[in-house]
């Protein structure tokens, strides 16, 4: 036995560090921003270390409490989970850095009795811990608890802006999320009734295509589709994301929606696929809903009056793409699966950048009506550039991560001869391009004779660095496309099942 401490368990740190940080930030409220930012940095570092470890070819695994499954709970991280963790950590770090600066200015003054800026940090850290726990968990019931942490913390973040519409949206979000979690749990209960296990790996070896399991799959996927805002169950998302504080919207859109979609992919490919439950018909149905989401979400984005609503509807469409992996790949992880993983990663970076830009637009112009965006000289160049970069990835133009994802999806649909899906992806891309260019074209048409009033003192170096955060996030979305071979290689780790 050596005196040295064992090497840190990076995976466990990504869960416990934020929870501890949340507790501390709650107690020492005045230092909440420092504690929150430090904890977020620590989590980002841990998740990157875990990613490097997993990328080395060794999937992570642990039996908590030393109790082997099926009695205990297992933590697992394959390539996809590690990538999602690192994505969560990095996007979170970016948003947290931005929040350090903007949180106080964005919220109405405390004397109105409506706002509680301190609450951002504990809520965000609890959300972060919940998300990471979700990506790592390999136990059906444990996943339910993580889902509850994520959705309740997300409800809190939605309401944080203190706007009346935000309260209404958060209330709807809470009821929908509560119902969705319980539907998922009903599936867990049914599977336990029939097979007597909760661990996903063990269940995989027991499940058979029979009525009880089919009903369980149906209610679990229905609950998760509701949580992921899959068309036509998306009604709650745009008001929630469109009315939350910008930092919160960035987190909700980039990270929270991913968690439930990730769970759908995981259950589909790890549990229902290998056991013959995930039939072609089920995949087709979910794919059709995804197609509906792509078309409807993109169309609404084109028609949106406000920038934030446009971005929110674009999330509805992006969720649709993620569901296309089910009909395209069937039950084996293939090209489409890689494609949606890339899309999910790229979308998180691009969408968080875009929501943070929305905040800057709102601050500088006092509104976010798309028609009135012409006075863009008041907007920093970096913001315009960031919006453009993020849009490139969201539309799926080369060389972005969004492009690689869509390319893989298209390739899968062309190889499989799925004309329908090819057409949907094309149409969705065209529509989202239209939506994004509606915004971008306002910048190109900026009036040169609109001088910038230099009323604000030049910001300090830290502030300038923080202003670069959205740009950095958008740049990562582009970079993902340039170095795509690496994440695609990592995705293969542990993907064999």
């Amino acid at each position: 036995m050596s005196d040295a401490l064992p090497a840190p368990d990076w995976a466990v740190l990504t869960v416990l560090l934020p929870l501890l940080g949340a507790a501390l930030a709650f107690v020492a409220e005045r230092q909440a921003d420092r504690i929150g930012f430090a904890a977020t940095t620590g989590v980002a570092l841990s998740s990157v270390m875990l990613l490097l470890q997993v990328a080395g070819g060794a999937p992570y695994q642990q039996s908590i409490g030393g109790w082997a499954v099926p009695l205990g709970i297992a933590l697992k991280a394959d390539g996809l989970a590690a990538l999602m963790l690192a994505m969560t950590g990095l996007v979170g770090l970016g948003v947290a850095a931005q929040a350090l600066r903007t949180m106080a200015s964005e919220l109405p003054p405390a004397r109105q009795g409506t706002a509680a800026p301190w609450a951002f940090w504990p809520l965000w850290l609890l959300l972060l811990g919940g998300l990471n726990a979700l990506y790592l968990s390999a136990d059906q019931f444990n996943l339910y608890v993580t889902l509850e942490i994520v959705s309740l913390a997300a409800v809190g973040l939605t309401a944080l802006s203190g706007k009346p519409e935000a309260f209404t949206a958060a209330m709807r979000y809470l009821l929908v999320g509560f119902l969705a979690s319980l539907l998922y749990l009903l599936g867990v209960a049914l599977l336990y009734a029939r097979y007597g296990v909760l661990d996903i790996g063990t269940a995989q070896s027991l499940l058979r295509p029979e009525p009880v399991a089919q009903l369980a799959m149906t209610v679990m996927l229905a609950g998760l589709a509701l949580k992921s805002a899959l068309f036509p169950l998306h009604f709650w998302l745009p008001p929630a994301h469109g009315n939350a504080a910008a930092s919160a919207s960035a987190l909700l859109s980039a990270l929270v929606v991913k968690a439930s979609v990730y769970l759908v992919l995981r259950l589909w490919f790890d549990l229902f696929g290998p056991t013959g439950l995930a039939t072609e018909a089920a995949g087709l149905l979910l794919g059709l809903l995804g197609a509906g989401a792509i078309l409807w979400g993109s169309l609404q984005a084109v028609l949106a009056e406000r920038l934030k609503l446009l971005v929110a509807y674009s999330t509805v469409a992006q969720v649709g793409y993620l569901f296309l992996a089910l009909p395209l790949d069937g039950t084996e992880r293939g090209l489409a699966w890689q494609g949606v993983a890339m899309l999910a990663l790229a979308h998180a970076f691009a969408k968080s950048a875009m929501f943070l830009c929305c905040q800057i637009v709102q601050d500088r112009l006092g509104h976010d009506r798309i028609r009135a965006l012409t006075s863009s000289a008041k907007l920093p160049r970096s913001t315009q550039l960031t919006l453009a970069l993020a849009a490139i990835s969201l539309i799926g133009l080369p060389p972005s991560g969004g492009f690689v994802g869509k390319w893989l999806l298209l390739q899968a649909s062309l190889e499989g001869g799925f004309t329908l899906w090819t057409a949907v992806i094309m149409a969705g891309t065209l529509l989202s391009a239209t939506a994004m260019f509606r915004v971008l074209v306002r910048f190109f048409a900026a009036q040169p004779d609109d001088p910038v009033e230099a009323e604000a003192p030049p910001p300090g170096i830290t502030a300038r660095l923080i202003d670069l955060v959205p740009f950095a996030l958008a740049a990562v979305a582009i970079l993902l496309g340039l170095v795509a071979t690496w994440p695609l290689m990592v995705l293969q780790v542990g993907a064999g099942g």
């Binding site: 466990v12 501390l24 109790w67 709970i73 913390a153 809190g156 029979e210 369980a216």
Partner: protein
């Protein structure tokens, strides 16, 4: 197998549960709805005693019925009723969905082999001697699946933060400090509830009970003190110690989880000889945090800061 068959008691309990639920959701009057809800909780607790789940029954009676009921009653005056009903097509759709769900569930449940169902009971009872406690439910909650419980404590913290954020000034409670009879009751009941909480906590390691049930009992004591207007009662003012006590359960849980893993073991892998003590330590901290959390939920907002200044 006659004991397995449905009895008159089962029939009555089941129908009563369903009937009360239908009455609760069907009545137009909000006050009556809440009264029926509390009654419903009591009947469900009986149902769980019947199904030999005393731990759950205790938690349902105290948290599910009494506390949730009290919470709903307290908030009702602030929630104006709305008589509106969904349009007819939505009602029809909802009815179809509900009937379909029931039919599918009933069909699936009837396909389950209720005589010899596979379950985790085997492994639990097999490893129970190693868990440090003899109450199997506590063994599952705080040892075999302790990680669930750890994350669940995080859910409680989300609720506290959310409630304080949404309501920076707790809505006023009508204090009963001028009432001699109520104060006389308190003098007896508060110490009794504290003893009960300690008893339930200790009991949990070998009989029905544990941190959640103990926390519910302790929270009742806190609520009585609050209602009596005792100036130094927890929750009268927002103090650093109150916040610290609210997160203590989570902090101790994490500290133990990580602490035991530092010797090269897995997260939350207690040394067998210490398992019982560590479980009791975690449960003691959890009891206090749970009790205060339930109190905060009932209070429905953040108490005023002691020095009057905004934090």
């Amino acid at each position: 197998m006659s004991g397995l068959l449905i009895s008159a008691l089962d029939l009555v309990l089941g129908l009563l549960t369903l009937g009360l639920a239908a009455a609760t959701l069907g009545t137009r009057d909000q006050a009556r709805m809440l009264m029926l809800f509390v009654t419903f909780g009591g009947v469900v607790a009986l149902l769980w005693v019947r199904l030999r789940a005393p731990d759950v029954a205790l938690a349902e009676a105290s948290i599910g019925a009494a506390l949730t009921g009290g919470l709903l009653l307290r908030m009702r005056p602030m929630l104006p009723p709305s008589d509106g009903n969904a349009p007819r097509p939505i009602r029809a759709l909802a009815a179809a969905l509900a009937l379909g769900t029931f039919a599918a569930l009933a069909w699936a449940l009837s396909l389950v082999d209720w005589g010899a169902r596979p379950s985790l009971a085997g492994p639990v009872f097999e490893r129970l001697p190693e868990s440090g406690v003899t109450n199997p439910v506590t063994a599952v909650l705080l040892n075999f699946r302790a990680y669930d419980t750890l994350l669940e404590v995080a859910v409680l913290l989300v609720a506290v933060v959310g409630v304080w954020m949404l309501s920076p000034r707790a809505p006023a409670l009508t204090p009963l400090r001028d009432d001699p009879l109520f104060l006389a009751l308190l003098r007896l009941l508060v110490p009794f509830l504290c003893i009960l909480a300690g008893y339930l906590l200790w009991l949990g390691s070998f009989a029905p009970g544990g941190a959640f049930q103990a926390g519910a009992a302790l929270s009742a004591a806190f609520l009585f003190l609050l209602l009596a207007g005792v100036p130094d009662a927890p929750g009268q003012a927002d103090r650093a110690w109150l916040r610290a006590a609210l997160v203590m359960g989570l902090a101790v849980f994490i500290a133990v989880a990580v602490g035991v893993s530092l010797r090269g073991a897995a997260l939350l892998e207690y040394p067998p000889a210490q398992a019982k003590n560590l479980i009791l330590l975690i449960e003691a901290a959890l009891t206090v945090s749970i009790a205060l959390t339930l109190m905060v939920l009932f209070q429905g907002g953040r108490p005023a800061s002691r020095d009057g200044a905004d934090p």
